[in-house]
Amino acid sequence: MNRKEVILSTQSLGKYFYEPIQFKVLDDISFEAYHGEFFTLRRTGGSGKSTLLYCLSTMDTIYEGELYIKGEKITGKKTDELAALRGHNIGFVFQFHYLLPEFSCLKNVMIPALKLGKYSHAEIENRAYEKLEMLGLRDQALKAASKLSGGQQQRVSIARALINDPSIIMGDEPTGNLDSKNSQIVFNIFKQLAEEFNQTVIAVTHDNDFAKNSHRTIELADGKILSQNSNTPDPNISS
């Protein structure tokens, strides 16, 4: 594993909120994330971490400073270019699953790949089955997304995030709505993605255990980076 290859970096990222009063929510955030790294952003009071994640995700384009993904400057690109870039490079897992309720689990997983259009329909279907298999949901594939339990839905949304083999997977409180058992499953999947598939996982969390067991944690306080710690992986948890 090449740990030192930078995949995403920021230079003095800053952002203001104007409501209710002007308030600097991110201040001079500079860091790098590497290939195959499981990386967490943790809050120690105040907001800001989700805001940072949305800036990193390219969905929020109003910020100061610069963002680079795979060495390419992202800041200043047009929204449609950014949408295509997200399709190629970034998978998302949110606190809420955001599955399309009218579609089956399989279709939900397939849609981003169908949009990207890199593979044929049959191949995409195969790959979607593979991802669901990996997350232990193959038998649920043809059920409507709305019929599954919360934990299952969250895993479907992870499968959806993985369908295009993105280099970066971003999670916004991915275990926020899950019980401890499902949280553990999601955690293990993330770890596996980073260590076995060499994908970069960037997750925002308020869960100390979750953060502690990731490879590296950035702690934010009042919009600034408080500390960057490399964690010692817990041998009991790593798969």
Binding site: M59, A84, K115
Partner: protein, 411 residues
């Protein structure tokens, strides 16, 4: 591929909200059906009234216009006082000079399908002491039939009998009733020139126009000339039919170049009728437009509602690589599906309404209701339906494309 996934999403949205789709489509259906129905009604009626008009009016009419005397002094001179200025009609004769030469010249033009001479004579129909004022049309009855389809108005008798008998007359239904005349009865007529003649009634017609039926009659040209005490070269009017009645003014202008007599197209003679046709068409289009606006608003509303309910879906689609254009395509496609559905149903409903009304018998002289299937009306209806749906879909779709996913995810 790109289109396929957008289409699939649009189709899924549509198929999971069948009822709302149907309601939106119904709006379009009603709009299109009413447009097609009312426009067909108006166009059918215009077609009918035009056909009625062509039973009495030729496409092109050539006649001698009354001449007004010119003043003796054309230039006003300060030293001259004009004592007499009294313009008068100076037409000595209504006849066209050398009419058959002019008739041949008319017939040489490829757009003239038929041309015939006519001699009109003012006359009185007498029955004992009662008199009825009328107008005798001296015609070659077979040529006139080709032009005005007189046969279709005949209630009794036949046209051949007129052609073969110089003393025969075909009278209107009103004349027959007022003077208590039947087929083969004798009728005494008097012309304004004072000539009296006994004619044999060989036919009775009814045009549906009371004034015409109570005054008009057909006689042979020779009989009419006799009544006027003139010779066989006395022809007052030449009538011509053309291949395309709508181009009559253009043809009339061309013909005017070859003769000094007045050439008049039917549009000029019937400007009032045509103007009221146009006003009806404008009124109808405005009403149909208003109905379609309401239908478009229905689509707009339902799509707006769909988008408000689907903000989460739009946000995740945008997060996973769908551009604003993709979102617009998805929702415009949904509007188009509603529009196509509504338009097809509207075309069918319109056709059914026309079919029902065309079977309603109004009674003579109209017969069945004059409403017809017209391709142009259906085509305009379909295009109208599609365009309004497109417009009604685009506005909310553009709004959906502007949804900021971050704002949705933050909630």
């Amino acid at each position: 591929m790109k289109l396929a996934v957008n289409t699939e999403i649009a189709l899924t949205h549509i198929s999971t909200r069948k009822r709302q789709t149907l309601v939106a489509a119904m709006g379009v259906t009603i709009g299109i059906a009413l447009y097609i129905f009312s426009d067909s009604l108006i166009k059918g009626f215009a077609q009918y009234s035009r056909a009625e008009m062509f039973k009495t009016f030729p496409h092109i009419r050539v006649y001698k216009e009354d001449e007004i005397s010119q003043p003796l002094f054309t230039e006003a001179d300060t030293n001259t006082v004009v004592l007499i200025s009294n313009p008068k009609i100076t037409t000595l004769t209504k006849s066209i000079v050398n009419p058959y030469l002019l008739l041949d010249q008319l017939k040489q033009h490829s757009y003239i399908t038929s041309a015939a001479p006519q001699v009109n004579v003012d006359l009185f129909y007498n029955n004992g002491r009662s008199q009825l004022k009328g107008l005798g049309a001296g015609v070659n009855i077979l040529e006139a039939d080709a032009m005005f389809n007189i046969q279709s108005t005949m209630l009794a008798g036949n046209l051949q009998a007129l052609a073969s008998n110089l003393n025969a007359i075909i009278i209107g239904k009103g004349v027959a009733e007022k003077l208590n005349l039947g087929l083969d009865d004798n009728l005494s007529i008097t012309s304004a020139q004072g000539l009296q003649k006994v004619m044999k009634v060989v036919g009775i017609f009814s045009t549906g126009n009371k004034a015409t039926d109570e005054s008009k009659s057909y006689v042979n040209i020779a009989a009419a000339q006799q009544m006027l005490k003139v010779g066989p070269d006395y022809i007052t009017e030449l009538y011509a039919s053309v291949d395309d009645p709508d181009r009559s003014p253009e043809y009339a202008q061309k013909l005017q170049a070859i003769t000094s007599y007045k050439v008049e197209d039917w549009q000029t003679s019937n400007a009032d009728t045509l103007a009221s046709d146009r006003i009806r068409a404008v009124m109808n289009t405005s009403v149909a437009f208003a109905i379609m606006m309401v239908a478009a608003f229905g689509i707009y509303n339902i799509l707006n509602m769909t988008i408000t309910q689907k903000l989460n879906d739009i946000a995740i689609l945008k997060a996973t690589g769908f551009s604003g254009k993709d979102i617009v395509r998805i929702f415009v496609l949904e509007a188009l599906i509603m529009g196509v559905l509504g338009t097809i149903l509207g075309l069918v409903t319109g056709a059914v309404l026309i079919n029902i009304l065309s079977k309603v018998y109004v009674g003579p002289p109209i017969g069945y209701f004059p409403i017809y299937y017209r391709l142009d009306v259906f085509a305009v209806g379909a295009i109208f339906g599609m365009l309004t749906s497109l417009g009604a879909g685009y506005l909310p779709a553009r709004k959906a494309a502007k949804v900021d996913p971050v704002e949705i995810f933050r909630k």
